[in-house]
């Protein structure tokens, strides 16, 4: 399945042309490299042009792009080794949250991430990346494992929202989100969160109460899906693009508002055009944060995390 957004169409047309030319050249043994180079230059110019003027809504589409790399893709591309661990030890094992023990550039660490599915079957299995209470409880179990064995924690956030279904409500989805944040605030090991794609409200912040919060360039982070916001604000879910503007849900906005620590650049054309390069950017950004955080004592790590979130908020003080 291919999903081509409006703004991606001309690029995709060029890419088809390049591919055709290449095949032709190979079949006929002709040298078409000059033509190809020219088309590629054209593609590059076009990409630059388009990506220089992305609207927030374009970012929403990119963050949800079905070819965008997911948590396990990053883990595979970034880590020297990874062993997935399973289960909340309370009766459930939520496939929407993955986690385990990884080696990353000299660090041993615990990784916990939200995982969407690539094909229809996996998407259903992983509930489209919408974690249930047991997902957050699995995460907490792994956070506590990290604390016990003094391992840093990396969380990879990519979820439209926590699962809103009746079963999740019955098993305490709200409590699990709150407890997950609380557990993260109690840790005395370094913690880094990366918003990979969709940072969907409570479902995302549950895993993002970290010492450092990074965002990929085209990821979004929002208190409400733009569609939901549009339905409330304009009584029209189709006005999601306007709502996306109003919500300031892009990585740049979050950085400007002082809510995240770093924007990790994506390759030209976004992560799905070059997952390998994107993963390496994430890797080096994470390693840099870990290098910095590793200098702090356990109590200082907890305190830094506390202060980091404690001072978020914009209000006035009456005279």
């Amino acid at each position: 399945m291919m999903t081509i957004f409006d703004f991606e169409k001309p690029i995709n047309e060029l890419e088809s042309a390049i591919a055709e030319l290449r095949q032709l050249a190979a079949e006929k043994g002709l040298d078409r490299s000059r033509e190809i180079a020219e088309l590629e230059a054209q593609r590059e110019r076009l990409l630059k042009q388009i990506f220089a003027h992305l609207r927030p809504w374009d970012k929403v589409l990119l963050a949800r792009h079905p070819k965008r790399p997911y948590a396990l893709d990053y883990i595979r591309l970034m880590c020297e080794q990874f062993l997935e661990l399973h289960g909340d030890r309370l009766g459930f094992n939520d496939p929407a949250i993955v986690g385990g023990l990884a080696k990353l550039g000299g660090y041993k660490l615990v990784i916990v991430g939200q995982q969407k599915g690539r094909d229809l079957k996996e998407r259903q299995k992983r509930n489209f990346g919408m974690a249930k209470p047991e997902g957050y409880r699995k995460a907490m179990r792994l956070f506590r494992l990290a604390e016990k064995f003094r391992l840093p924690v990396l969380t990879l956030v990519d979820t439209p929202a926590a699962d809103p279904g009746v079963e999740s409500e019955a098993r305490g989805i709200s409590e699990s989100i709150a407890q997950s944040m609380l557990t993260m605030f109690e840790l005395t090991v370094p913690t880094v969160a990366v918003i990979l794609g969709e940072g969907g409200s409570g479902g995302a912040i549950a895993l993002a109460a970290a010492n450092r919060v990074l965002m990929l360039e085209h990821a979004i982070y929002s208190v409400i899906p733009p569609e939901g916001c549009a339905a409330i604000l304009y009584r029209d879910p189709n006005k999601a693009p306007q709502a996306a503007d109003a919500l300031q849900l892009t990585a740049d906005s979050a950085l400007q508002l002082g809510l995240i620590d770093l924007v990790i650049p994506e390759p030209l054309g976004a992560a799905h055009r070059d997952p390998q390069t994107t993963a390496l950017s994430v890797r080096s950004a994470v390693l840099q944060q870990l290098d910095e955080l590793s200098r702090l004592e356990p109590d200082a790590l907890r305190e830094q995390r506390y202060q980091r979130f404690r001072h978020i908020g914009v209000y006035e003080v009456a005279q």
Partner: protein
């Protein structure tokens, strides 16, 4: 009592129950803390009323009353909504906080006001809640919060989502200080408030039939096969599912909180 017309019901003397529609004599209704004497329906209380009904007479001292909402994203219609919320509630934000005495115990107390923008949590609510927990931790006082909220305040965008983390962090301070935190879920306690500080209390009480849940009812039903149970997202549903200690009629909230304070506070706890 005879059923009367709405016009008459809205007079000074009479009031109509929002649930059973019976007409009630207002002085009786107020004396019953706005619980319908016919059907037991718990009508919403203003934050300030709630606090005054809960604490010892003349003991409440408001804190952080000088915090005012800003409009950091210049969000459409937000300034207007703030004005309307203030007019409707008579308050400057969706929570009132302070220190007070309850049954002689010195406490930190907060009550949310659904009348101010649906009790939604933006920067001011988050800040005042966080200060409650910090004040409790520093001064070694218990914290009691009455929740009433539709969730995070969309109009402050990601900043309001961050208030979930901020208030949760503050809870961890009180926990480490070993001071009790008691929450009372009133109608409604939802979404971003339920999924942060509200659910982290040591003991959780709720008023009968209060709406308590994560997502909107329609979203929840759409996301699930089959029909939700009849009491879905009520306090009673959450109690059955282990998330609420006790459903407590309004009249019993105060004595129940007093007993919990007596049980959980160290003997040397400050009284006044």
């Amino acid at each position: 009592m005879q059923r009367r017309g709405a016009a008459q019901a809205n007079s000074e003397q009479w009031v109509q129950c929002a649930k059973c529609k019976k007409i009630l004599f207002r002085p009786d209704f107020e004396r019953a803390m706005r619980v319908c004497s016919h059907c037991g329906h718990h009508h919403r209380l203003r934050a300030r009323e709630r606090i005054l009904l809960t604490v010892d007479p003349n003991s409440f001292e408001e804190t952080d009353a000088d915090l005012r909402p800003a409009d950091p994203l210049s969000f459409p219609e937000y300034a207007d909504k703030l004005r309307k919320g203030a007019a409707a509630s008579g308050e400057t934000e969706a929570i009132i906080t302070g220190v007070a005495a309850l049954s002689g115990y010195e406490i930190v107390i907060g009550a949310m006001d659904f009348g101010f923008m649906g009790g939604s949590m933006g920067s001011v609510v988050g800040e005042k809640v966080a200060r409650c927990f910090e004040r409790g931790a520093e001064r070694r006082l218990p914290v009691i919060l009455f929740c009433a909220s539709g969730g995070a305040r969309m109009q402050e965008g990601l900043i309001s989502l961050m208030q979930m983390a901020k208030t949760t962090a503050a809870v961890s301070r009180l926990h480490r200080a070993g001071m009790p935190y008691l929450a009372v879920f009133t109608d409604p306690t939802m979404a971003g408030v339920l999924a942060s500080f509200a659910s982290l209390a040591d003991v959780i009480l709720a008023e009968p039939s209060a709406l308590v849940g994560f997502a909107g009812q329609r979203v929840a039903a759409q996301a699930s096969p089959g029909k939700p149970p009849a009491n879905f997202q009520t306090a009673e549903f959450q109690h059955e599912h282990g998330m609420i200690d006790l459903i407590v009629p309004r009249r019993q909230i105060r004595p129940t909180l007093a007993y919990l304070l007596e049980m959980l506070l160290p003997v040397e706890a400050r009284t006044r």
